[in-house]
Structures are given as C-alpha cells and as structure tokens.
Amino acid sequence: MTKPLTMVEIRGVHKSFGSLEVLQGIDLTIEKGSVTVILGPSGSGKSTLLRTINHLEKVDRGHVRVDGELIGYRQDGDRLYELHERHVLKQRAGIGFVFQTFNLFPHLTVLENVTEALLRRPRAEAKQRALDLLDRVGLADKAAAYPRQLSGGQQQRVAIARALALDPKLVLFDEPTSALDPELVGEVLDVMRDLARAGTTMIVVTHEIGFAREAADSIVFLDGGRILEHGPPAQVLDSPVHDRTRAFLSKVLS
C-alpha cells in the first residue's frame, strides 16, 4: 500500500473546529530523508496539519500513515477503530515534535528534560544518550541548568535534543523560531540544518523563507485549508502558479 521510500502519507484529511473547516481535504506524500517546509498565511491550517501527523489533533475524515503505520486508528476491513490512548502514545514516541513555545519542563534540569522520555532505558545509558544529544546542539555545558536560566534560542535547542531522544524516524517542527528574538533565530536554524544534512526526515512549519530555500527538498504552500502549491523551492518560491502564493511571498520577503 505504501511505498518503502514513503515516510508520511496523508490522504483526504479534513478537520473542523466548530463550524470552521481548517483542513479541507489534504493529500500529501513525504519521502524518507526529505525536508519539507510548510508555508502559508496564519490561519491557513499549517499547524493543525502538522499536529494531525502525530495525532495531537484528531482528524474528522481521511487518514495519516507514518512509515506505513496508520496513526491513531486500527483498520479492520473498511472501518477505522480509534486506538486507545496508550497505543497512540507509543506511536508518538517514534515522532519528534518541536513546539513554537519550547514547552520544556521548568521543574526539571536540561539533562532531566532530555532523559524524561527515555524511561525504559537504564539510567546511565539514558544520561549518556542525553549528554550526546546536548553536545550535538552545542549545550553539553548547560546540562545542570534549569530551562528558565537559558535564553530562548538555547531552550529551543534543548527542546530539539529532547525531541531527538527517542531516535524518531520523523521530526515535526511547529514554527520553531517564531517565539525567538531575531538575533537568536540563527542558532536554532543552524541546528536544524545539521539535522537535515544528517538525513533526518523533517516537516517544518515556518516563515523563514531563507531556511526553506536552502534546506528544503520540497515546499508546500497552504491556504484556506488546501494545498495550493507543492514542489521544489525554486519552483514554489520563484515561479509560483497561484496569485495567492505570490501575494504571500511578496509580503514575507519584503
């Protein structure tokens, strides 16, 4: 059903909040090892789409598969049975998620934030793994600090290390630099570029067009809950098909 090279398969996904239909039929396939950037005006459904991929948001219609596995449901014939929460939690462990507002645990140290998800590993092994990851985001020396003692950029890098702790096959980024002071955006994007180079499959909702142009394999432009454009950066950014895309790009690039 799913090709072996496909990491994420989104088919006919609809989602409403009350009377507002935020996603109006999304079809999207994402390859293993690729970096996909989702662009779009606010309210276009970018974050909602990202959150359906790890079932933080339930879909009303359609389905999402990650690495061939149906997310949040079990299929039996032509029926989808909603999975019990503990099974969904297990599925989520394979999908990293980085939030706009970091959402680090303030009462735990940086090291404990990263080891918190590693509950099934021996303590020493979990600690070593966390230190390696903190080293990878350049914050090994902050292991004993509390989140509140770090800058926004450093907190987001810890959040990325935390999302990587369980060795996810896919990492989702929900506007990871939107809550940062402008001079701190670069350090977070640097870490994300490193991840992209290492072959991590990433889906990134962002307004950083520069990052999209240079790190993305494909760009999705979303507007009003539909995909208007999907293609390589050069195509979507330089010769978009739709007027809406052109209008949006001229606003964010000016």
Binding site: R86, L89, Q91, R92, G96, N103, F105, H107, T109, E116
Partner: protein, 288 residues
C-alpha cells in the same frame, strides 16, 4: 530663564555632589505610637493578676494536657492525610471528561462544603439512629457481614470520619486549583514524547501543580488544626475539651484557655516552618 543660565554659568563637578535622602518624620511618629500601645499591652500581661501565669505554668505540661495535645495532633494528621487523599481523587474526577464522575465530585464538594462541620460531626455520632446495623453484601441483595453501628463507629471514629470528609471537599478544590494552574502545553509536550498518562500526572503535572497547591494546603492544614477543637461536642479529650474539663473543675478559665491558645500557636509555628521547607523543595527550577 535666569535660573537656567545661572546653572550653566557655574556647572558643579559631578563627583562633588552629595545625595541627601528624603526625611520621613511621620514614620517616626507612627512607630512611637504603636510602640506605646505594645508596651501597654506587655505591661498588662505582666501586671494583671487575671492572667494567672502561675496556673498557666502549672498546667502547660500537665499530663492530661499532654495527652489531649497528642489527640489534637493525631486528629490533625489523620484528617489531613485522609482529606488530601480524598482531594487527590476528587479533583481529577471534577476535571474528568466523564459526566458521571464530574457530577458526583461536584455534588460531593457542594454538600460537604455546605454542612457546618459541627453539624456533620453530630450526624456521624448519631448514625446509629439512622442505621442501627451496617452490612457488607450484594447491592440491593443479601448481606454477608453485619455490624452494630454503635460498636463500629466510636465517637473518635465519628470525629475522624467527619473531619476527613469535610477536609476532602476543601482539599479537592485546592488540588484542582493547582492542576488548572499548570500550562496545558506541558501535558501536550509530555504526550508528544509518548510519556504514559500516569507518569505525565506524577512527573510533569503534580510537581508543577504543587507550587500553587502548597500555600493553600498549608492554610487549610492550619485551619484543620484549629477545627479539631470542634470535636469537643463529641466529648473527645482533645486540647480544647481537656482545658474545659480542667477549668470546669477549678474555675481558672483564662489561664487554661491560654494553655490551649499557646499550644495552638506553637503547632501553627511548626507547620509554618515545615511549609517553608516543602515550598522551597518544589520551587526547584523557578529560583534564580
């Protein structure tokens, strides 16, 4: 204009300027007035024979008072532990998506906050009039084990049940306040990491909720300590009942009320010190 030009004409060297703090003469007047009142009260404590410090000293460590003090401490401790265990169950119930659990919890809190503690205690003590025997068995079916109510629920048991049920209603609201004070995104982050529900509650939610829970919980604990004096209506020999027994015998009302008062003050002080250290433990990560 002329002032400005004058200042410009002779600019003083900045380092030679002296800062003179503003004077506050009324602070001194206020402080003196309050100190006079305090001194008058202290003088009265020493010179007024009505305080009868000799009797106070004689009964402060007296054996029956010590036993009563122990019962007060035990009732407070047991009431707090049972009450907060109840609160930890009732608060998530009230926040549950299950409408039955939510309504049961809401109704419980409504009823037990409505009934005055003293009235509730008398109800429990008179349970035997309502149900002369209690049995365990199939609901609406045959009973398996029978007890006589009065042998099962002693007056101390009635006091403890009353305090714990009363306390659980208040504790539930305190715990609920703590839970809703935690940013929902914390649970979302834990869910995204695939952390199991119970561990989310224990490791992520509760430690953060404790910061909001502790000041109110300590308040409630101090309240409970003093509420134990209400169980005197069931003739239980706690601190307040015991000093009443003594002054009923010897007529020295004021010094014996003072014995109870000073013990309540000391116990509250101990709880306050305890509160300080527990709060410090849970402020980890928030201190600079």
């Amino acid at each position: 204009m002329s002032v400005l030009s004058e200042a410009r004409a002779a600019p003083p060297a900045a380092e030679t300027l002296t800062v003179v703090p503003a004077r506050h003469p009324w602070r001194w007047v206020g402080a003196a007035a309050v100190l006079v009142l305090v001194a008058q009260f202290a003088h009265g404590l020493v010179t007024n024979p009505g305080w009868d410090w000799g009797t106070f000293a004689g009964y402060f460590f007296e054996r029956s008072v010590m036993q009563a003090l122990l019962i007060t401490v035990e009732l407070t401790f047991a009431g707090a532990v049972l009450g907060f265990l109840g609160g930890i169950v009732l608060a998530p119930m009230r926040l549950s998506r299950n409408p039955v659990l939510r309504s049961v919890s809401w109704t419980y809190i409504w009823v037990f906050r409505s009934v005055p503690l003293i009235v509730q205690l008398l109800f429990w003590a008179n349970l035997g009039y309502l149900y002369d025997s209690l049995q365990i068995g199939v609901p609406f079916g045959p009973g398996l084990v029978h007890f006589a109510t009065n042998s099962l629920v002693s007056s101390l048991g009635a006091a403890l049940i009353g305090l714990a049920l009363h306390e659980a209603a208040y504790a539930a609201e305190i715990v609920r306040a703590g839970i809703i004070s935690v940013d929902q995104r914390q649970l979302e982050a834990a869910a995204a990491l695939g952390i199991p529900r119970l561990r989310q509650f224990r490791r992520i939610l509760l430690p953060q909720a404790m910061r909001a829970i502790l000041p109110s919980a300590a308040n409630e604990l101090v309240n409970l300590l003093k509420s134990t004096s209400v169980v005197y209506v069931l003739a239980i020999g706690e601190l307040f009942y015991q000093v009443q027994v003594v002054y009923g015998r010897n007529g020295r009302v004021v010094p014996l009320l003072l014995v109870a008062t000073v013990w309540y003050v000391i116990l509250t002080a101990v709880l306050s010190v305890f509160q300080h250290y527990v709060e410090r433990h849970f402020s980890r990560g928030w201190r600079k």
